[in-house]
């Protein structure tokens, strides 16, 4: 597999292949679990119901009719693909760090897309900030991965983070319930709760992947500085002391812990990663949570 899309080189593609193999191993074990409740034309028998005019008479159980003299219709569980919604935070705060959080998020999103496409799931990729900025129509099949790459490559950081507005806007359409993977730093002025609650409200299974830059954890600044918020451009003069740095670190930890607890409370998937953490390990961590591959 080769690609010319910027940011996704040969090395990256090799890692995706590896992940695809791993995902197949996971999916082989869990295939029986991916079954929709909706009854349809699947192979697995589910139930009977009385025949009503208009039903497909091919599903009438003639043997039961002979025994009971009643027309019963055989119902089968319909096998369905899994809608996967990959929300990539493209607010300006994601442009922070080396590599940037957005760059890292794109790679994670690409990997998850690839795995989803390989499992014939319907993958929808969305970039959001204070609204839905770009959206890739649902894709299925590995051969669509290049579209995903192109989409991800076209994402550029802009705007402030208002996840609730973005998720509400996205979900108000006739969306199927699915797996919503949110890849973000969750630095939302409104807090992370409104956005995640919105996805829960629309009955999506939510996985929160918190991407944190090393610079977020260990800011390298001392003395008199003027902090500029990359999203709002608001400035604040600060005298940075070791005590303040430590207080900030504690606050970062507290923020992540709050997010984790929130996800635990509402049975949401949660993975926290730092941008210098190998993304394939991250994807496997997501797999281990069992939400991505059922």
């Amino acid at each position: 597999m080769t690609t010319a899309i910027a940011g996704f080189d040969e090395e990256f593609m090799r890692k995706l292949e590896y992940l695809a193999l791993v995902s197949k191993r996971f999916s082989g074990q869990l295939k029986a679990e991916r079954r929709a409740r909706k009854l349809g034309s699947g192979l697995e028998f589910a139930d009977y119901r009385g025949y009503v005019p208009g039903d497909d008479f091919r599903y009438i159980d003639w043997k039961t009719y002979l025994r009971l003299d009643r027309l019963l219709l055989r119902l089968y569980e319909e096998e369905q693909d899994l809608p996967i919604y990959l929300f990539v935070d493209s607010s300006r705060s994601m442009a922070y760090g080396r590599p940037t959080k957005l760059e890292y998020a794109k790679r994670v999103a690409a990997a998850l897309c690839y795995v989803g496409l390989a499992n014939l799931d319907r993958v929808t990729a969305i970039s959001y900030a204070d609204g839905v900025q770009m959206q890739l129509s649902p894709q299925r099949g590995k051969n669509q991965i290049f579209r995903v790459f192109q989409f991800l490559s076209d994402i550029h950081p802009s705007g402030k983070t208002h996840a609730r507005d973005a998720f509400r806007f996205f979900s108000t359409g006739s969306r199927r319930h699915g797996l919503a993977v949110v890849i973000s730093d969750f630095f939302d002025p409104d807090g992370f709760e409104p956005g995640l609650n919105t996805l829960r409200y629309y009955k999506h299974d939510v996985v929160a992947i918190q991407v944190v830059a090393r610079e977020d954890l260990e800011p390298e600044m001392r003395g008199q500085v003027e902090l500029i918020d990359s999203e709002s451009s608001a400035a604040r003069e600060v005298s940075v002391t070791p005590e303040l740095i430590q207080a900030y670190r504690d606050e970062v930890q507290r923020f992540s812990e709050d997010l984790r607890r929130h996800c635990l409370k509402y049975q949401l998937g949660y993975v926290r990663t730092v941008t210098d953490f190998p993304f394939e390990d991250l994807v496997l961590e997501v797999f281990r949570q069992g939400r991505f591959l059922k």
């Binding site: 300006r92 705060s93 994601m94 442009a95 922070y96 760090g97 959080k101 983070t161 730093d185 630095f187 939302d188 002025p189 830059a213 610079e215 977020d216 800011p219 600044m221 003395g223 008199q224 500085v225 003027e226 902090l227 500029i228 918020d229 990359s230 999203e231 709002s232 608001a234 400035a235 604040r236 003069e237 600060v238 005298s239 002391t241 005590e243 303040l244 207080a247 900030y248 606050e251 970062v252 923020f255």
Partner: protein, 585 residues
């Protein structure tokens, strides 16, 4: 506190500028480095939680500014050399009075007493306390500063001061609590108020002086002159003295003397061999410390006859006979009826006749008449005697008049200068100098026994010389010489203009050096020989004071520049220490 290097206003300005600069630089320094973070969300939470931290930040900032400001001000003000007084400053102004007597120019080894006085005054002003007010003045009345604490004003006044050979007066100082120091050599006594502290700049020196030089009419000759010379050695050692008398031509008369201490050499020299004109007497002696008294000038009238017009009714009168006997007089006798002013006549003598209009030239008039140009007559007086007169006036030189009796004289108002008066104060002889010289005798020749006195021919001779203006030069000391004519044409021997000014119709010559000054106005000349000829001044070693004294400065003021710099350095160290421990910014 005051400042030695700057005035108070300058120091204040400096402090203001430095403070402004420091504050500006401080805030420039605090222009924070801009750091862009992905999101300030968590930073804001931390910072908002640390309100106490924020307050501390402000305090730290204030402390940093305060430290920086104090350091900068300490350094800036140290440059201005602040000091605090070392003693009580409640006293009034301190006045330095410098003696400008000519004896202050006496020098030893090239350093005069005046130089010492000025140097001491300058040192005193430079080193003394600055919060006190000072004044400097001289005894010549020429320089006097206001009471000020400005050192520059005082130093400038000292630079303007010079010794002045004229009259010396101690300045009037009436400020309360004033403290006065008089820097003097003590040679010339100057009357001063009690409480004045004397600072001596006396230093012994050698001096040989011309103590007398005068040209006189030779009483034994109707046309001769003699010079009286006197030289005195005031040195404490024998002096080899060269004396040279030089005239306007090539006339020279020289002497060489070995003078013991205190020796006084005199000579009465016949000037027959000298032509008319200026005479200069000069002495030379090695180690002589005072030059002002080494030269003296006089004037010898040039030879030549006066053209005198006698207007008299009486033919062959005593006065006519007397004038005809004088070899220096070309006499022309005119009767009153035939009187017409002749421009070829130098002087008219009116005997019992007064023309209606004043003659243009000088004149001598016997008997006060009714004419407007003569003193107004208000009656007559009889049986009068010469009782008071001015012996120093040129008219009365060598003129014995003590027993002159006047049978009748006019009673006139003393409009001119009264030279001779009776016991009742009735003017008998008056003079007038403007517009021309005139002599008025309020009695006629025949109304007194004056013509029968020995002094009468001398008086007539004196009157003719005085009126002609070609007589002997008037004698004047150095300093301000006042002559009774208003002119700005005052020249010295070499023709250069002399410093002078007019005051109340008189001319005042500023004679700071010996010389022969000639004042000219409307064709009339007045010569003044300005010489020191003052034994009190020339006796430069005669003083009431001890040897060189010292004008002690006040107890040294406490200058603060060094402690301020030390404090600034300590604060810099403290600031560095607190900065590295993040106590300050």
């Amino acid at each position: 506190m005051s400042f030695l290097a700057l005035s108070a206003s300058q120091a204040l300005l400096l402090a203001g500028l430095v403070s402004t600069l420091v504050v500006v630089l401080f805030f420039l320094k605090l222009r924070h480095r801009r750091v862009i973070v992905g999101s300030a969300l968590l930073w804001n939470r931390v910072l908002d939680q640390q309100l106490a931290n924020s307050m501390m930040e402000k305090l730290r900032r204030l402390l940093s500014l305060l430290l920086t400001l104090v350091i900068a001000l300490l350094i800036a003000l140290a440059v201005a050399r602040p000091d605090v007084d070392g003693r009580e400053t409640a006293a009034g102004p301190l006045v330095l009075v410098l003696d400008t007597s000519p004896s202050m120019t006496a020098s030893v080894g090239g350093v005069s007493r005046w130089d010492s006085a000025v140097r001491q005054a300058r040192d005193f002003i430079t080193r003394s306390q600055t919060t006190r007010s000072y004044m400097v003045a001289d005894t010549a009345g020429r320089v006097r500063t206001p009471v000020t604490s400005s050192r520059q004003t005082l130093i400038d006044a000292l630079d303007k001061m010079t010794p002045f050979p004229g009259e010396q007066h101690f300045p009037s100082l009436s400020a309360p609590g004033v403290e006065v120091y008089f820097i003097t050599d003590g040679v010339i006594p100057v009357s001063r108020p009690p409480g004045v502290r004397e600072i001596s700049v006396f230093a012994p020196t050698d001096n040989v002086a011309v103590t007398a030089f005068e040209v006189r009419i030779d009483p034994t000759s109707v046309s001769g002159y003699r010079a009286f010379l006197e030289v005195t050695n005031y040195a404490d050692r024998p002096m080899d003295v060269g004396i040279l008398l030089s005239g306007a031509g090539d006339e020279r008369q020289a002497w060489r003397l070995d003078m013991e201490p205190g020796d006084n050499w005199q000579d009465d020299l016949d000037l027959a061999e000298f032509r008319g004109g200026p005479l200069r007497l000069r002495i030379e002696a090695e180690g002589d410390g005072l030059t002002l008294d080494d030269t003296a000038y006089a004037y010898l009238p040039p030879p030549g006859n006066l053209r005198v017009g006698l207007v008299s009714d009486e033919a062959g009168s005593y006065l006519e006979t007397l004038l005809r006997l004088s070899p220096e007089v070309d006499l022309r006798v005119v009767r009153p009826a035939a009187f017409r002013e002749d421009p070829d006549v130098d002087i008219y003598i009116f005997d019992g006749f007064q023309p209606a209009d004043a003659p243009r030239g000088p004149s001598i008039a016997f008997g006060a008449g009714p004419s407007d140009w003569m003193p107004a007559r208000a009656g007559a007086a009889s049986d009068l005697r010469f009782t008071t007169w001015e012996p120093g006036h040129p008219l009365m030189e060598n003129t014995p008049v003590s027993d002159v009796v006047i049978t009748e004289a006019g009673r006139v108002d003393p409009e001119g200068r009264t030279i001779v008066a009776s016991a009742d104060g009735i003017p008998l002889i008056l003079t007038e100098e403007t517009p021309v010289r005139r002599v008025f005798l309020t009695f006629g020749v025949g109304d007194s026994d004056f013509p029968f006195h020995l002094g009468f021919p001398v008086f007539i001779e004196n009157a003719l010389r005085w009126c002609s203006g070609e007589g002997l030069a008037e004698s004047g000391g150095l300093g301000h010489i006042r002559i009774p004519m208003a002119t700005d044409q005052v020249t010295m021997l070499d023709g250069t203009q002399a410093a002078s000014f007019t005051e109340s119709g008189h001319t005042v010559i500023d004679a700071t050096q010996p010389g022969l000054y000639t004042a000219t106005a409307e064709g009339r000349r007045v010569r003044v020989a300005a010489n020191l000829l003052d034994r009190a001044v020339s006796d430069v070693n005669h003083t009431r004071l001890e040897g060189p004294g010292r004008l002690e400065t006040r107890p040294r003021d406490t200058e603060l520049w060094f402690p301020m710099l030390v404090a600034a350095l300590l604060l810099i160290g403290l600031e560095s220490w607190t900065y590295h421990r993040r106590v300050t910014l």
